[in-house]
Symmetry: C7
């Protein structure tokens, strides 16, 4: 039996990627008080919010995108042992492309 | 005599599903400060909010859907001994499908 | 001489129904921190708010409906010895139908 | 010389009616924490607010109406010894009709 | 050399009229906690705010009007020794007409 | 090498004019708790914000205008030794014309 | 392997330019309590937010622009050792042109 999460509105389900706090050769120290984002992969994407006429606003991200998001955004859920996050698209900061 | 609840606007009536805090073989400890959602089944669905022209915005969930919602969202009501919740659709995070 | 209250905008006049805190055979203890709603009967209904073009948005409740509303919503008024409440329709949670 | 007040926007000028806190035969004690409204008569009515296209939204109350309003709403002014209130129409709760 | 102030948006320039706190024969004591308004004469009127399509919303007051406004509203400026106030039209409560 | 600042949206770049706190013959004492505005000259003007359809809303001030603005509004920047301010047009109170 | 950041909505990726706090010949002391902005170069620009009809609102800045922004705005990210910022266009104050 497998579980499928269909996010509502402009929400996405994201699997966070743990980032090493310690880089090769040294310790990363926070240099500023600014919020640092977290990285993750999008597992599923909602249908989008509705505009004032009830029409769907298309989503700008898709399944499989690697994204950055604010560290404390969203709601955490554990599905089959995996820690996932449900976030609104507006909480996503950028898509990360690796070439 | 049976009681029927017709939620108003974009509200839904949800019967929460109690989730075991303790999983097989161990204790689940909260790993982060993030809010954890709760699961429930939708018993009835309101007609939807009205847009700026007074037309109904269709609802994205239906009776019988299993949904996730923030743990402290909504208003609790006891109907014939059952603890139910009245929530706005915007407080619902995702539909859970089990295959 | 009788008094008639015509609520303005999307307001309704509600006569609250006192609910027994104690059920047959025992004491109901609050199990959660969630807000519990109150029940009442609608005595009169306002004409509805106006949309951005000045047209009335129709009301979803009518005189005689039994409704649930948040316990501390609205403004209390005493008319001919009866304790009534003036509430906005958006403060109403659901219509209760008994069959 | 007499003074005439022309309220602006959706404002009204109201002359409050003092209500006896003490009823015949006893003292009224506040039973709940809910806000109690005050009664008054409308002396003059503004032209109404403008909608997004600059057109006037008609007022729902008129000169001479007896209305209920929240006790601490509005701005007090003393005109020729009389204590009057300038209120927005949205602060009015209901029209009181006595038959 | 004379100074001319052209208020921007829906702002007006008002010269406040000092009101005697003490009336003939006695001292006026504040009877309630409600805010008391101040009187003034409009010296100049802005072009009005723009609606959502960029068109001007006409102003409801004109140069020379005597108006009431909340005591602590606006920004004070001293022009050629005179204490003036720059207020938004929405801070004006009513026009005072004396016949 | 000279620096040119092109403000974004409805922002303007203003060079503040220092005003003497002390007038001829005496000391100006603050008489009220009201905010006092500051004077400045507009050095450059942004293209204007966009309305809901993406069209520019024209600016009401132009390069060279002497304007009043709230004392603590805006962001300060030092360009070639000169202290300048970047303000939104909505923070400007009035244009000062001297004849 | 190189990383490419595609900002979402009206966001931009900015590489901050460190500014010397100490100028030639002396120490710059903060003269006012006003917020001082920071300078940076835009590395990439999002597609723009959507208006109420779902259409893109064009961006006013482009890759390569030198911009000013509030010192504590945005989210910091480290990409290949470089400290970058993800900001909304509305947090940008002005474009700096050097001639």
């Amino acid at each position: 039996m497998s579980v499928n999460l269909k996010p509502l509105g402009s929400r996405v389900v994201v699997e966070p990627i743990e980032q090493e706090e310690v880089t090769a050769g040294g310790i990363v120290l926070p240099e500023t008080a600014k919020e640092k984002p977290q990285k993750g992969v999008i597992l599923s994407v909602g249908p989008g919010d509705r505009d004032e006429d009830g029409k769907r606003i298309p989503m700008d991200v898709k399944e499989g995108d690697t994204v950055l998001f604010a560290k404390y955004a969203g709601t955490e859920i554990k599905v089959e042992g995996k820690k996932l996050l449900i976030l609104r698209e507006s909480d996503l900061l950028a898509i990360v492309e690796t070439k």
